[in-house]
Amino acid sequence: MSQEEPMLPDDEDDKRLMGLVAGGDDDALRLLVHRHHARLVGYLRGEVGSQATAEELAMEVFIRLHRAAARWRPEAKLSTYLIHIARNLVLNEWRRRGRKPTTALEFAAEPGDLSQGSARRVAELDEAFQRAILQLAPEQRTAILLVVQQELPYEEIAEIMDAPVSSVKTWIHRARARLRELLKDFYAQE
């Protein structure tokens, strides 16, 4: 598995913008949101399976970021801090509702220039994967989303999840095994 550093916004500039946000600069906040919201919403949609809920939670993440701006210390990358807040909100949301995320998916595949048959298979696979991911245990789901979808290194995932790297690796291993089991009909020939 390659652990390439994804194309992240300049973290130093994030720190500078956070300083401005702490001083009440709404344009700096707008720029930060513009930079980070897409990946945050993508991650949250993977966690909760709903675009509307993902957007609500992402909104709450940025409100909390704004409230904490004056106290924020740049010990970690801002993107790490945002996902850390987002994960805590997801956990709170499940506790509040007393259940795990719904399986009502709103995931739409983007077939691009695929043929109609391929596009249908892609759509079916996407939906099957999304359903399977929502059936994972919370730690497994978060870990697999962060490593595969967000391409974060293990150390950063461990920081986000407040857990040792060894636990993160275990969760990822178990998530893969569980997904294989849930999707065995698609991969029976392997």
Binding site: V33, A38, F62, L145, V148, E151
Partner: protein, 120 residues
């Protein structure tokens, strides 16, 4: 995740998840700024309300705690009365009245009795 040794399962898992990696929402930043401004206003109002309530509570507490006791009230009354000359005069007159009332009563002889006595 681009390891060529990956199975089709691994490749499709990665492809599926990465398709949903970033979901850009048009106008999201403006929505966030709008909500944050409203949140800031609300928090300011709450902060001022709390400060006003605390001030009012302190004011009431001061009024209650600084209330004079009965003894202090009596002392203040006496002090006021002591500065009032008319009251002092009234007191003196009152004392004179009291003295005349308390003086032993000496029965004066009647006028006839006095006259008779001197004539005889």
């Amino acid at each position: 995740m681009d390891n060529p040794e990956q199975t089709p399962f691994d490749q499709e898992l990665a492809a599926t998840l990465r398709r949903g990696r970033a979901v850009s929402v048009p106008g999201f930043a403006d929505r966030v700024v709008g909500v944050v401004r409203a949140d800031r206003r609300r928090r300011t109002i709450v902060r001022w309300s709390s400060a006003l309530a605390a001030t009012a509570a302190v004011f009431v507490a001061l009024l209650t705690l600084s209330g004079t006791s009965e003894e202090a009230l009596n002392r203040q009354t006496f002090a006021l009365v002591a500065r009032d000359e008319s009251a002092q005069l009234a007191d003196l007159l009152g004392a004179a009245d009291d003295l005349s009332l308390l003086a032993p009563v000496a029965e004066r002889p009647a006028v006839v009795e006095t006259f008779v006595a001197s004539g005889s």
